[in-house]
């Protein structure tokens, strides 16, 4: 009999006592379209096999057909919970290929918006993670603050989620009047709001029961399996790219890097909640003394000219026309730029062959690598712990599948 061909992977039970169970892709606690094939012995997990690719949209391939600047909106869609971090990582990579110097004001605003993005992303994580485990009300509180952050994004970029605010060579626009006041109001209010979340969860006996000593990941396993970000720091490895390999001016700001040695779901929760407070402090520091000056680099062949100049000077008009219609050539070479995204090390590997279109754009997605640790976390645990483990590594499927 010819073998039946199935387009999706299958998992065969390996023993007489085990059976296989299909979880997802439509499942409320898989945070998108993640399909897990579980082999179970009663309630105990024997094997976990993630099946991904449901959201694969070929972004890396599409980038190769766009001019360098046109690829920025595509990067938003990779990790839709932290679009500005994606924008930043991509433009930093291209700026290093070009050897561009970015003015300090643009760098400060980039740091400020990036930390707000981290707050935004961690709030969605906290709300949905608590919802998965059964604490409904945290979700409502988190989305209340997230709304404030999204309003700030809307002020600067005109978009709530797909911001595309960073440009190669600086920022798209000067932030509008009142934006700094809105950020200041948010920063002053936010620490008390984090206290509210912690009141609901940190000492809650049900929460502790569901998260303590669950989905343990040892530091050795975390490194071997490629985990980064809060997942790695919760296992006791002290690395944060913002502090250790600074980019876009992070060395100017003081912040603590929270770590924990417990390696369980609760440790990842505590690390992220403390990161919320630290990010808030970084935003507060950026508010004090934003440097004055231009928001775009002085590179007329790369950065679009100001509107007034374009209407009054012929050279500016010519440059504008050429950048829009032909793009700008980037010297041949390759760059791997990594930034600390809310989920871990996000890296953009951009290869240029000297033409105005990127030859290759590869995204090192933190969720994609963190997902590999799921089997080690869940083996021998109960099915209900799989839900807690998925929530604790904070995956975004847009980024896993790209």
């Amino acid at each position: 009999m010819p073998q039946m061909f199935t387009p999706t992977p299958t998992l065969e039970a390996t023993g007489p006592r085990t059976m296989t169970l299909n979880m997802g892709p439509q499942h409320p606690s898989t945070h998108g379209v993640l399909r897990l094939l579980l082999e179970i012995d009663g309630e105990t997990i024997v094997r976990v096999m993630p099946d991904i690719g449901f959201l694969h949209t070929g972004i890396e391939k599409t980038c190769e057909a766009k001019f360098y600047q046109q690829a920025v909106p595509l990067t938003d869609r990779i990790d839709y919970l932290c679009p500005l971090t994606n924008n930043l990582c991509y433009v930093l990579a291209v700026e290093r290929l070009l050897g561009l110097e970015i003015p300090p004001r643009a760098q400060w605003l980039r740091v400020m918006l990036n930390e707000l993005t981290r707050i935004n992303s961690h709030l969605v994580w906290l709300g949905t993670h608590a919802l998965d485990i059964g604490a409904m009300s945290v979700f409502l509180y988190c989305f209340r603050e997230r709304e404030d952050v999204l309003r700030i994004f809307e002020m600067v970029s005109g978009q709530r989620m797909m911001t595309s605010y960073f440009r190669i060579g600086g920022l798209a626009l000067e932030p509008p009047l009142g934006m700094f006041d809105a950020v200041r109001r948010f920063v002053n209010r936010f620490p008390s709001r984090v206290d509210e979340y912690e009141n609901l969860l940190t000492a809650n006996p049900i929460w502790l029961e569901r998260t303590k000593k669950v989905a343990y990941l040892s530091p050795e396993d975390a490194i071997a399996l490629g985990a980064t970000g809060p997942t790695l720091r919760a296992s006791g490895i002290d690395i944060d790219l913002r502090r250790d390999m600074p980019y876009t001016g992070y060395e100017k700001f003081k912040f603590k890097v929270p770590i924990s040695h417990d390696g369980d779901v609760f440790a990842r929760y505590i690390v992220r909640v403390q990161e919320l407070r630290e990010s808030n402090e970084i935003v507060r520091q950026t508010l004090e003394g934003v440097p004055e000056g231009p928001i775009k680099a002085d590179a007329p062949k790369i950065v679009l000219p100001a509107r007034e100049k374009m209407k009054t000077q012929m050279e500016a008009l010519i440059y504008h026309f050429k950048i829009v219609t032909e793009g700008f050539p980037v010297p041949a070479g390759e760059v791997y730029q990594a930034v600390e995204s809310p989920r871990g090390e996000m890296g953009y590997y951009v290869v240029s062959d000297g033409s105005p279109k990127p030859y290759r754009v590869h995204v090192r997605a933190p969720s994609f690598a963190n997902l590999q640790a799921l089997h080690t976390m869940c083996e021998g645990r109960l099915i209900a712990d799989v839900v807690a483990a998925i929530g604790s590594i904070d995956i975004v499927l847009g980024e896993v599948d790209r």
């Binding site: 061909f5 199935t6 387009p7 890396e60 391939k61 561009l100 390999m245 590869h362 090192r364 790209r402």
Partner: protein
């Protein structure tokens, strides 16, 4: 900040610790090296990649204990067609290193490094899926992004951006 020209001369670069370590181990394994935009790239000969990774991981001084990424670049129609690119990170020393393996276009294959870093599993599957580069010794070399009955490897340069219609 004008760009400094890339250094590609092995003689000038042999002082770099990672390159020095690999040259001390086996000078024939190193094909070329480049220092460009503050990043060191070492091109390793195809049969040596797994051992080179193991040596860099286990070296007490270098401590490239973390595999950040594996990807591939297709230089079609040039030969050697594929560059398989490995990005390593030394967590204690805050340093990165890029290893490269060049592969010919007909039947590209090389040794898997999943025995050195289990995290290579998904990355190698992705390269296999999107470029058609085979990794021998991989525990589960199957498509990861595309459906299993998909034809062709989408990130190859001879695959149209719109797909086959």
């Amino acid at each position: 900040m004008p760009l400094a020209p890339a250094i590609t001369d092995l003689g000038q670069l042999k002082e770099r610790p990672a390159l020095a370590r690999l040259l001390a181990w086996n000078p024939d394994a190193v094909e070329a090296s480049k220092f460009d935009r503050d990043e060191l790239t070492i091109v390793v000969k195809c049969p040596a990649i797994r051992e080179a990774c193991a040596i860099l991981r286990d070296d007490r001084e270098l401590q490239f204990s973390f595999l950040a990424d594996i990807t591939c670049v297709d230089w079609y129609p040039n030969e050697p067609r594929f560059d398989v690119v490995y990005h390593l990170l030394s967590i204690p020393r805050h340093e990165r290193l890029r290893l490269k393996v060049r592969l010919a276009g007909n039947d590209p294959s090389l040794e898997s490094i999943t025995s050195v870093w289990p995290s290579a599993n998904f990355f190698e599957r992705e390269v296999y899926d999107l470029f058609g580069v085979r990794f021998s010794g991989h525990p589960n070399l199957r498509r990861i992004m595309m459906p299993e009955d998909w034809e062709g490897h989408p990130l190859r340069k001879d695959y149209p951006v719109e797909g086959y219609r």
